[in-house]
């Protein structure tokens, strides 16, 4: 049974698209037929991160409106045969995401894919709600700072109340935490929340911690998802996260125990 996974966060700029590209690529590298969809209508970026921007002809909105067929819009990844990219429109806006149209397209995708990864836009408006509505699993992308954590908390609440699974009293969306742009140095200095702080506030299981790394920026700019870079710590962290998502036990890397947590420092308690 195909699984719909949404990468969401509430806040913008935390690494949803980078993570969607990396997780989708990671799932494909493990032999799963995977498609990654860009829900950020009007602010199309996934095609750049995936390095297929020059091959976009038709998009998600064309397919929703019935102007193009699914196989005309899907772009096959150059590096992995299991991976497809479903770009969105840069000229339209989020109102073009009609819920019944999205449902029809997802159902069609479910026939030929194992995993459908949805890259959500930021915010909690129509675009983000539509992206998470049909999710079976959610990967909450969070940076170790208070505003990102609060927005993630809000999105978890929305998943629990406004998703299809919530509205139809089905088993709730299975929610995972992905902590991105983590810098152990800054955590030690008390400038960033620690993994433990974030886990305590959000109280959801931790899928992975992605260290802040130059390789992520390089990957974005060259259009090669960071999991393909086996040398980079961030790439390895994503590979681990994908393995955990598939049910494997893996030790958390890049997170040594910290002595003084940000929260304690904030509250003046040593």
């Amino acid at each position: 049974m195909a699984k719909v996974i949404v990468l969401t966060s509430g806040k913008g700029g935390v690494g949803k698209t980078t993570s969607a590209a990396a997780i989708a690529s990671g799932l494909a590298l493990r032999g799963n037929r995977t498609v990654v969809i860009d829900f950020d209508v009007g602010l199309r970026n996934l095609d750049l991160i995936m390095g297929c921007e020059r091959r976009v002809v038709f998009d998600f909105i064309n397919v929703i409106n019935g102007d193009a067929k699914l196989n005309q819009a899907l772009i096959k990844d150059k590096r992995n045969d299991n991976l497809y990219i479903f770009p969105t429109s840069q000229t339209r806006d989020k109102d073009a995401l009609k819920r019944d149209g999205v449902e029809r397209v997802l159902n069609e995708l479910k026939e030929s894919f194992d995993y459908i990864v949805c890259d959500s836009p930021a915010g909690i408006e129509h675009g983000a709600i539509t992206a998470l509505y049909f999710a079976d699993s959610a990967i909450i992308t969070t940076n170790p700072e208070v505003s990102s954590v609060r927005d993630s908390d809000r999105i978890i609440g929305i998943l629990a109340s406004k998703s299809r699974r919530a509205e139809h009293n089905m088993e709730p969306v299975d929610v995972h935490l992905l902590l991105t742009r983590y810098s152990l140095e800054r955590v030690k200095k008390g400038e960033m929340l620690s993994v433990e702080d974030v886990k305590e506030i959000l109280s959801i299981p931790l899928l992975g911690v992605i260290p802040e790394s130059e390789s992520v920026l390089r990957a974005s700019n060259t259009g090669i998802p960071v999991v393909f870079d086996e040398e980079s710590p961030a790439g390895r962290a994503y590979v681990d996260a994908v393995a955990r998502f598939l049910g494997e036990q893996r030790e958390m890397r890049f997170v040594q125990p910290e002595r003084r947590s940000f929260f304690r420092a904030l509250l003046g308690r040593a």
Partner: protein
């Protein structure tokens, strides 16, 4: 079919203490309160609490009370804490009698305010006939929970940006990081209990403290918060 003629239902009803009707400040203050939320009060049912008002014994007095409340768009439907003679007089005025009655052992009365204290505002607290609400999932940022006429019990953390409200007490068996408003209907005896206080705001019957005003030594500890002499008081458990 006969078995279905009478069905049970639970309602939240405002209670007005009879002795307050004698207070000259009652009329203008109630008028003000009604003006603030006219829709809430329009045709709202009211029960007259006769505790400490043994002088209400005549049918005419109950009719007068009904007329006073009617002027403020409220509908008097019955009495509470009544002596047997009062039950009869009220019945003659067409009013129902709600339990508990004075013949039953009643709870200890709350301490009266000092004689020189300002007259208490009219107490329009909802009765606790409604069932208290139990929340077992984390209360996430942006979520609002309100329990009308009863207590709220949360067995999970309450996130910053979440708001929990109850007309009765609030219990949080987890970290309280959001806003908690107990006694939302005006009950000054409501309390807030939490196993770790990191709240953005706590309030009882409209008296509130924001995060900055919480004493640093109480932060992060298990506390209860009560309204004592009109001041929010935090006691470490």
């Amino acid at each position: 079919m006969a078995g279905n003629l009478v069905q049970g239902a639970v309602f939240t009803v405002m209670v007005v203490r009879a002795e307050m009707l004698r207070d000259p400040a009652f009329d203008p203050e109630l008028a003000q309160q009604v003006q603030r939320s006219p829709r809430f009060f329009l045709n709202a049912p009211v029960v007259l609490d006769l505790r400490g008002a043994a002088e209400f014994t005549h049918e005419a007095e109950f009719i007068e009370a009904r007329d006073i409340l009617r002027r403020h768009t409220l509908t008097l439907i019955g009495i509470q804490n009544a002596q047997p003679t009062q039950v009869d007089a009220a019945a003659a005025a067409g009013l129902a009698s709600f339990a508990p009655n004075a013949s039953q052992p009643s709870r200890a009365r709350p301490v009266e305010p000092a004689p020189n204290a300002a007259p208490a505002p009219p107490r329009l607290a909802a009765t606790a006939t409604a069932k208290s609400r139990l929340v077992t999932q984390p209360v996430r940022s942006g979520t609002q929970i309100y329990v009308r006429g009863a207590d709220l019990v949360v067995t999970a953390p309450v996130s910053p940006g979440a708001e929990i409200m109850a007309d009765g007490n609030i219990h949080v068996y987890g970290v309280l990081r959001g806003r908690a408003l107990a006694g939302a209907g005006g009950d000054a005896e409501a309390r807030i209990f939490c196993s770790r206080l990191e709240a953005e705001l706590v309030s009882i019957a409209g008296h509130y403290l924001v995060s900055d005003q919480l004493p640093p030594e109480q932060r992060g500890s298990a506390v209860q918060i009560a309204l004592v002499d009109g001041r929010l008081t935090i006691v470490q458990n």
